[in-house]
C-alpha cells in the first residue's frame, strides 16, 4: 500500500532567505568598556548571563578593560538580542553587530 503523500509547503524565495538569516549565527554581541562597572562585577555578569566559566569570563573582561571592547558571543539574531538585552539589564554597555559588517 502506498502512503499518502503530503505536498511540501510552498516556500517562496524571499521566505527561504529570511529563514536562513534567522538561523545563521551572523550577529556579534559586543561589550564596551566603561569606567564605573567593577572588573569583578563584569566577570560575575559574564558568568551569569553568558554561562562562561571563570577563566573565559576573566579573559573577556580583560579584553574589555584593555582593548575597549570584547566580542562575547556570535549568535543567531534572536539569541544575540537576548544576550545583549540581558547584559544591559545588568548595566553593561553592549551592542549588536552583523558579522558581515
Amino acid at each position: 500500500m502506498q502512503a499518502a503523500t503530503t505536498p511540501p509547503p510552498e516556500v517562496l524565495p524571499g521566505q527561504e532567505t529570511d529563514l536562513s538569516e534567522a538561523f545563521a549565527k551572523g550577529w556579534r554581541v559586543v561589550v564596551w568598556n566603561d569606567p564605573v562597572n567593577l572588573m569583578s562585577y563584569v566577570v560575575f555578569v559574564f558568568m551569569r548571563v553568558l554561562g562562561f566559566n571563570e577563566t573565559q569570563a576573566q579573559k573577556h573582561m580583560l579584553e574589555v578593560h584593555e582593548q575597549g571592547k570584547s566580542v562575547v558571543a556570535v549568535e543567531t539574531r534572536e539569541k544575540a538580542e537576548f544576550y545583549c538585552h540581558r547584559l544591559q539589564e545588568f548595566g553593561l554597555k553592549s551592542t549588536l553587530e552583523a558579522t558581515a559588517a
Binding site: P35, V36, N37, L38, Y41, H85, G91, T95
Partner: protein, 163 residues
C-alpha cells in the same frame, strides 16, 4: 561591614550604624529612580540604564526600540519589589545590626547596588579619574557624597561576590 554566607546560602551583612544609614539612603534613592519612567530620568542616568546606543545600527527602531527600553525598565521595576523587602529588614537608620539577604536575592542585590553606582556616576558625569580614591578625598559637597556612595557600594559588591 562584614559579610558572611548564612547556613541557608544567603548572606548575612553586619552593618555599623553609619553604614546602615548610608545603605538606607542608597536603597530609598534607588527605589525612587526605578519607579521613574526612562524618559523622565536625568538624561545622563537614562543613558546608562536605558541607553539607545547601537540600537539603530542593529536595525532596532521605532516600536522595537520602545519595546527594548520598556523591557529594561520592567527588569528594574522587578528589582524594586525586592528593594521594598530589603528596606523593611534593614536595621533602622543609624543603628548597627545584621541584615539578612536570601540566596535568591543576592544576584538582584548586586545588580541593584551596581545600578546605584551607575546612577550616581551619571548624575555627576564621573569619568575614570573622578573615581579614584584620591579624587574623592579632594571632592566637595554633593559630588563627595556621590563618590562616598560609589566607593562604599564597590566594597560591598566585592564582599558579596567573594562569599
Amino acid at each position: 561591614m562584614k559579610i558572611s554566607r548564612s547556613k541557608s546560602g544567603g548572606r548575612q551583612v553586619e552593618l555599623a550604624g553609619p553604614e546602615s544609614a548610608l545603605l538606607r539612603q542608597v536603597l530609598e534613592g534607588l527605589n525612587e529612580a526605578y519607579e521613574t519612567a526612562p524618559g523622565e530620568l536625568d538624561p545622563m542616568v537614562a543613558n546608562l540604564w536605558y541607553g539607545r546606543a547601537g540600537l539603530k545600527e542593529a536595525g532596532i527602531r521605532g516600536e522595537e526600540a520602545i519595546h527594548w527600553i520598556e523591557g529594561l525598565h520592567e527588569v528594574r521595576l522587578g528589582r524594586q519589589v525586592a528593594l521594598g523587602r530589603w528596606l523593611k529588614s534593614l536595621p533602622k537608620a543609624g543603628h548597627a545590626g545584621a541584615w539578612n539577604i536570601a540566596e535568591e536575592d543576592v544576584e538582584t542585590l548586586v545588580a541593584s547596588l551596581n545600578d546605584h553606582r551607575l546612577r550616581r556616576a551619571g548624575e555627576f558625569d564621573l569619568g575614570e579619574g573622578d573615581l579614584e580614591v584620591k579624587a574623592m578625598e579632594k571632592s566637595r559637597g554633593d559630588k563627595r557624597v556621590a563618590l562616598v556612595e560609589i566607593h562604599f557600594l564597590a566594597w560591598m559588591i566585592e564582599l558579596l561576590l567573594q562569599e
